[in-house]
């Protein structure tokens, strides 16, 4: 590991090349570059997650930490790691202070692995508009996490308004085990669904995406009942034949009930962040079912017809209407009482 204090982008590029040489053939065959935009407190779990994901998708990991954007004094600190505890992954952790943080791409662009896809992941409050962040504009695939948003109710709406093919959200990824179970349960369905009921936290973006997915696929609009703090806990589908299919999730187990049959149980485990990220990195083309679910739940249309290319919009927080400190205050206050948790 090399640590460079108060350095320049050129130095970082040189140091990475030197580390790669001295580490030998540790990382061979990079599949992609993963740019993670995180807060300082998330750096370790980002590394942890990338390490798990890199086992399936060997990658170059660029972690960008932005600090004190309003500060006029700019400074770049960098840590470089090749192999070692990260496994088949090489990582550059960059801490950008001051105005430099608004031009993060000037440091990141020369570090992108040549001619492999770029994935940008905001592990934290996602940007209001992805086009505001140049690191999102260069990416082929953009991963946000609406569950971390200060305003979970508005987060999905924001994502839908801003959607471009190639966007995806980890709240959708977290639904995969639930969707798998539901699709499995529906395999034995004897007729079409006539109504659907979801018991969940109505503010949880995952539950609302699930509702959107069911609506898009089954053509019925599910009713969401408040689960009073226990997250997504039950989905009930009523079929035209009168049969009811119920999937009840509790503590890593799904109980499947179907009229006329004994209950059955299956594992329904929440996965670590790294495995969710690995699922995201499997396919790097636009995720149409996500767009359809997002469209259904927010009522916006034509998401898949949008242009997948974004153009950077210069957005200076210093000139923004709301001053930065106040916003971060409200965000911590709201995160504290946010129940979240999608698939427990």
């Amino acid at each position: 590991m090399i640590a460079l204090w108060d350095t320049t982008g050129t130095e970082v590029v040189k140091a990475l090349a030197a580390e790669r040489r001295s580490a030998g053939g540790v990382t061979s065959g990079l599949a992609l570059t993963l740019v993670a935009v995180v807060d300082e407190r998330h750096v370790r779990d980002t590394e942890q997650a990338a390490m798990i994901a890199a086992q399936q998708h060997p990658c170059r990991l660029l972690i960008v930490v932005r600090r004190n954007v309003l500060d006029q004094e700019s400074r770049l600190d960098a840590e470089i790691m090749v192999g070692g505890r990260l496994g088949p992954c090489e990582a550059v952790i960059m801490r950008m202070h001051g105005r430099l943080a608004l031009h993060a791409e000037s440091v990141a662009l020369p570090l992108l692995a040549p001619d492999v896809p770029v994935v940008t992941w905001w592990h934290g409050d996602p940007p209001e508009k992805i086009a505001y962040d140049p690191l999102g504009v260069v990416a082929d695939r953009r991963i946000t996490d609406s569950a971390q948003s200060a305003d979970p109710d508005g987060a999905l709406k924001l994502r839908a308004e801003d959607y471009a093919p190639g966007d995806t959200d980890l709240t959708w990824t977290r639904l995969t085990p639930w969707r798998t179970t539901l699709a499995g349960a529906f395999d034995t369905a004897d007729s079409a669904a006539t109504s659907a009921k979801i018991t969940a936290d109505p503010h949880d973006p995952s539950s609302r995406l699930l509702s959107g997915w069911l609506q898009a696929r089954l053509g019925v609009k599910p009713k969401i009942t408040d689960s009073h703090g226990s997250g997504l806990s039950e989905v009930e589908l009523t079929l035209a034949s009168g049969t009811t299919l119920t999937v009840h999730g509790n503590d890593g187990t799904a109980t499947l009930s179907r009229t006329g049959f004994p209950d059955r149980t299956m594992p329904l485990l929440a996965r670590p962040l790294g495995e969710e990220l690995a699922e995201e990195l499997r396919r790097l083309d636009p995720d149409e079912p996500y767009a359809a679910a997002l469209a259904a739940t927010t009522g916006l249309k034509g998401l898949n017809d949008r242009d997948s290319k974004r153009v950077h919009i210069w957005h200076d927080p210093a000139l923004a209407e709301k001053p930065e400190p106040e916003e971060s205050e409200t965000s911590t206050a709201r995160t504290a009482k946010k129940p979240a948790k999608a698939s427990s």
Binding site: G25, S28, G29, A54, Q55, Q56, P58, G87, P88, T173, T176, P177, R179, T180, T181, L182, A183, G184, A185, F186, D187, T188, A189, D190, S191, A192, A193, L214, R217, L218, G219, A240, S241, D251, G252, T253, A254, L256, R258, F261, P262, R264, T265, M266, P267, L268, L269, E279, R282, R283, D287, E288, P289
Partner: protein, 520 residues
Amino acid sequence: MRRSASKETDKTAEPSVNPLRDPQDRRLPRVPEPCALVIFGVTGDLARKKLIPAVYDLANRGLLPPGFVMLGFARRDWGHGDFEQIARDAAQQHARTPWREQVWARLQGNIKFVPGSFDDDEAFDTLARTLDELRSSHGIRGNAAFYFSIPPAAFPTVLKQLQRTGMSDNDASGGWRRVVVEKPFGHDLDSARDLNGLVDNVFTAQDVFRIDHYLGKETVQNILALRFANTLFEPVWNSHYVDSVQITMAEDVGIGTRAGFYDSAGAARDVLQNHLLQLLTMVALEEPVSFDSEALRVEKLKVLRAITLPEDLKRYAIRGQYAQGWVAGERALGYHQEKDVPADSTTETYVAVRLGVQNRRWAGVPFYIRAGKRLPRRVTEIAVSFKTAPHLPFAKTDTEELGHNQLVIRVQPDEGVTLKFGSKVPGTSMEVRDIAMDFLYGEAFTESSPEAYERLILDVLLGDKTLFPNSQEVEESWKIVDPLEEYWSGTTPYHYRAGEWGPREADDMLARDGRTWRRP
């Protein structure tokens, strides 16, 4: 989708497509329908080391359907509790995914044990009844796969029992009934035909799954991706550019406790007939029309039928047997000293043979194939060696260290691909030597990627036959091995010291052709 009409007429009819399964939605894994897996010989090594752990891993990855039941059948005086304990130990010890008590607890509730011997009619009646009861207790509508983890000698008895009780009948059960057979698929063409006839007769041919676990390996499937997803390799993948192909399957272990089976089979029947010939077909086949099992099978059969044996079997079909020596720093017994091996055994533990593939693409390219036990290290790889450049515009001394360009597919361990080519030695003079460029699957990737058995069991339950050789393939490969066995009968294999790369005669075989074995 049928909405109202079907309701009155046919209550059990399913909607033709599940609307929750969208072909574009590639996050949802393929999960089989509710079904039972019946394992005969569940107390054996294979079941404990591979099958039960693979079932646990599948459950852990959420790939088993709700209402999956595993039924164990074996001749033991056990209650349900004893078997559960054994299964638990096996899964805990050999599973590849992390141990989760919750997952096992749920799986355990769906594990049943039926004791009995194979000629015991009553035991099979109990088994049939147990399967029937699953219909109401677990919602399994007659789907069951029977896994034969038993010696081939017991096949006819078990098959007859399955036929007698009607368990093998798709129509009678109202669902699918599949059978999974492990190698050896007979010991020569005639016995393979008998066995195929028997199995295909009791079950229908399309419900028979023959396991060649090599085909479940990620790297073997990658051969097809490498060849047919790229433009770089296919243009040179023929006799114009390829000089020779070497396929090696080396093991450092001896025969262990398998003397009973191994001494009657030998290396050619044990691994050449199945694994090595399957690897060869993957390398040599033409582009299939699609990747469904039928299209792929057509191409594989074409290759198997085009394989020719050398005319001079004495020099190009070499058998070896290990004598005592040292392997990995430990003294190793010779084959004759192994437990239960007759002192005059002429069974081979090493085989090397030169095969040809007579078609336009491969005519004239030798395929050197070798497999052996007690070789220096465990490795399976395919090396495609290319012809040297027709003209080298360098001084002769500049390229002395330049060999053939090679593309090496490492099947196990260190799964990956190596490309070997000439490159200039840095310095003021012109000198060219071989260097290797490596693509390595991440170590952790190979650990966490599904084990071959996991993939294959899942495919059986899904009914996907792409990775399973059918009876024709098995018969064609015996047609290649039988003449070799016939020639070898009555001869004594050459000896090699345990820990050597086979007998000297195998080296001579390549030397005669102006080549050498690649050291894997």
